[in-house]
């Protein structure tokens, strides 16, 4: 049984069926992709799994425990972290604070401890600061630690969002179009970064992307969506040659 199992999820908004019968599985350490033309329902699938939406039908299981219908917060505590298509950093906070937030749930001192500044509070503050700086260093963001998050260059902002997601200690990391808005050089660096994260942290990575080269280079397994339905599943070569996939992206060949 895979770590994250998605079974026949459907997502209906009033009359619009955004996602039908979506099934999927990902295990720890796997690098998997989700592609499809615009409006295919990729972000909807993410949102349904991470708790932003409640699936109209279907089940999601993480390590055998049902998580569909839980809130984003509960799902994050269970072990799934995500990034967003439009970067949603906490712009007014510093880079370090953005990452420290991820460690919030691991703290055990309470509110009273914070107010009276108990020794436990002080200890945990140092500990998490150390861990956060280490994480930033791993992702080569440590020199920006005191900067305001919004003043980072675009590529670094994306990396910060990934760092923040990693700080929550997830078992599965969901990346929503991480390469959006990057130039080719940055995309190459991102490819290396994603592989590095998988190797270093052992998380399963689920990727939505539009950039074919990136997806084909990174993902061991790819699912293709079109109009909410799964039209192909397989390795990069299998999916590339699948006529249905080609038709979805380029339309029917002229007769």
């Amino acid at each position: 049984m895979a770590l994250l199992e998605i079974k026949n999820i459907s997502m209906q908004f009033g009359g619009l069926k955004a996602l039908s019968d979506f099934s999927f599985a990902i295990d720890q350490g796997e690098l998997v992709g989700l592609i499809g033309p615009n409006g295919a329902g990729k972000s909807t699938a993410f949102n349904a799994v991470t708790g932003v939406y409640k699936p109209t039908k279907g089940q999601t299981e993480l390590a055998g425990r049902r998580i569909d219908g839980l809130s984003t917060v509960q799902i994050n505590h269970a072990g799934i972290a995500r990034t967003f298509q439009n970067i949603r950093l906490f712009t007014q906070l510093t880079v370090l604070d953005n990452v420290l937030i991820g460690f919030n749930q691991s703290g055990t001192h309470g509110l009273l401890g914070a107010i009276v500044r108990s020794p436990k509070f002080a200890r945990e503050r140092e500990k998490f600061k150390g861990e956060a700086m280490a994480l930033l260093k791993t992702l080569k963001l440590d020199q920006f630690a005191a900067w305001q998050a919004s003043s980072l260059p675009y590529g670094d902002q994306r990396r910060l969002e990934i760092a923040r997601a990693l700080a929550t200690g997830p078992k599965i990391l969901c990346l929503d179009e991480p390469a959006a808005g990057m130039n080719p050089q940055e995309k190459i660096e991102l490819t290396g970064l994603i592989r590095f994260i998988r190797d270093r942290f052992g998380v399963g990575i689920w990727l939505i992307e539009h950039d074919m080269k990136l997806v084909m280079a990174l993902c061991e397994r790819i699912t293709v969506l079109d109009h909410g339905e799964t039209i192909a599943v397989g390795t990069a070569e299998q999916v590339q040659g699948d006529p249905k996939v080609i038709e979805a992206y380029l339309g029917e060949p002229e007769k």
Binding site: V73, N76, R82, R88, L89, F90, I101, N104, A114, N183
Partner: protein, 478 residues
């Protein structure tokens, strides 16, 4: 300017909007507060400018400033740090004021030698009242919540179930009231038997606790050394007011979770007004006429009370500032700021949005309740009009002009705004003897129009802080 390597020169955009703090360091707030707090002590009690120390002008201002500091700082936690726009802070203040203000005279006094009510001698009584109130409130809330869940379960059985049940009950209530008319003795709550029984149960259990606890209350008062009974009464009054206000904050925070921005603002406004209406309709609380509250004086002599009250006021103010500051600079505070920025992203990073919102409301409300109790014991006479929308707005203005999320800025803004009205009111007295006639009549005009000037300054201040000077029409601000 050369642009190297595809990277633009980095600069933090000038943030000229309401999150920019009015004051960024601690020296200014410290200085300002010290001046205000120490002014009455100057010259052995004669006060600054020789305008009278303790029983006059400066003492009153210093105390009002202290109370406002507590209130504004508690609101800063909700509005500034957590980013929830609350327009109903006066409601929490009112809860604290009325609870403390009612408990002390009614339950904290004893009949003295000449059959006269002596105040501040029975801390046990005040404690009993507050405990009874608290227990009954929690129990009632629990029952209501349980019913709510029950109705929700009904909804699982049949989707329209709860709506139908509710509609039938409502229709029954309305028909019953309409056909019976306004006959004496008809109780709208009695129209639906369950509601009538429920309200009787609530009042009944409250009375029962009060009756059973008399002995324990006497014991508590006996155990407290004689000299400490008055401070003990005050402490219970403050804490009781604070706790009840915190419960009110819970009641406000939980249902308004889903609301954002404007909607939250008007919901808090509505709750505050509802609290006020409840008070206005409550006989024991004095209805619209108001309630007389014993002031905290050691000596019955008029005017000496302020000295003894002063440390309490500033003690609570400093406690509030400390608590809010420490929360802000802790992981919980960070979480609140994330909540303020982006609720969805906060949820995605594992921050329990619900819990943190409620936390901000509960703590903010509790501190405001303490401020309200202080207010009641200082001013000696409270009525619902003092806690209306205007008061909430005054507090919002203090917090916003100081900078949303900035503790030092709020301190400065609060002090300045608290001084504003008294300054205009007594502009006459500020005038040195040699000032020409037009200056004096100008001062009178200032007094007459002081609220108008206040509103004009408010508008101009917001316009300027939002757009900066001399830049009207220049286009969008950063």
């Amino acid at each position: 300017m050369s642009v190297a390597g595809g990277q633009l020169p980095l600069e933090t955009p000038v943030r000229r909007h309401l999150s920019a703090p009015l004051v960024a360091n601690w020296w200014v707030p410290l200085a300002v507060v010290l001046v205000v707090a120490l002014a009455p002590w100057v010259e052995g009690g004669r006060g600054l400018l020789g305008m009278g120390g303790w029983d006059k002008f400066w003492a009153q201002i210093a105390i009002v400033v202290g109370i406002n500091l507590t209130l504004a700082m508690s609101l800063q936690l909700i509005n500034g740090i957590a980013g929830q726009f609350s327009l109903g802070h006066a409601g929490f203040m009112a809860v604290g004021a009325y609870i403390g203000g009612y408990a002390v005279p009614t339950h904290g006094g004893k009949l003295g030698a000449e059959d006269e009510m002596v105040a501040w001698v029975h801390p046990g009584g005040v404690l009993l009242y507050v405990v009874a109130l608290g227990v009954v409130t929690v129990a009632t809330a629990g029952v209501v919540f349980g019913l709510y869940k029950l109705v929700g379960l009904l909804g699982r059985v049949h989707k329209r179930g709860p709506a139908v049940v509710f509609g039938v009950l409502l229709a029954w209530l309305v028909v019953d009231i309409v056909t019976k008319g306004k006959s004496a003795g008809s109780n709208p709550l009695g129209a639906i038997a369950a509601l009538g029984w429920g309200s009787a149960a609530v009042t009944g259990s409250f009375d029962w606790i009060m009756l059973r606890g008399v002995g324990a209350a006497e014991w508590v008062s006996g155990v407290t050394p004689a000299g400490y009974r008055q401070p003990a009464c005050l402490v219970v009054s403050l804490l009781g007011g604070g706790v009840m206000a915190a419960m009110a904050g819970l009641v406000v925070g939980l249902p308004t979770l889903r609301l954002r921005g404007d909607y939250l603002a008007i919901a808090t406004l509505g709750v505050s007004e509802l609290i006020r209406t409840t008070i206005t309709n409550s006989g024991p609380l004095g209805r619209a006429t108001g309630l007389s509250v014993p002031t905290y004086s050691v000596d019955a002599e008029a005017g000496v009370s302020a000295v003894y009250f002063f440390p309490w006021v500033y003690g609570v103010a400093i406690l509030t500032i400390l608590v809010v500051w420490r929360i802000q600079h802790s992981p919980k505070g960070r979480a609140l700021q994330c909540l303020r920025e982006d609720e969805i992203a906060a949820g995605a990073v594992g921050i329990d949005v619900t819990a943190h919102k409620v936390l901000a409301f509960v703590i903010g409300a509790g501190l405001a309740g303490m401020g309200g109790a202080l207010f009641a014991h200082y001013i000696g006479y409270i009525n619902p009009k003092q806690f209306d929308l205007t008061k909430s707005i005054e507090l919002v203005v203090m917090v916003t002009l100081g900078g949303l999320g900035s503790v030092p800025g709020t301190i400065v803004a609060t002090v300045l705004l608290s001084l504003f009205q008294p300054a205009l009111q007594t502009a006459n007295q500020w005038m040195p003897a040699w000032a020409p006639g037009w200056a004096t009549s100008g001062a009178e005009l200032l007094n007459k129009y002081r609220l108008v000037i206040y509103s004009l300054l408010l508008i101009v201040a917001i316009l300027v802080r939002s757009r900066g000077w001399l830049s009207f029409g220049r286009g969008k601000k950063a």
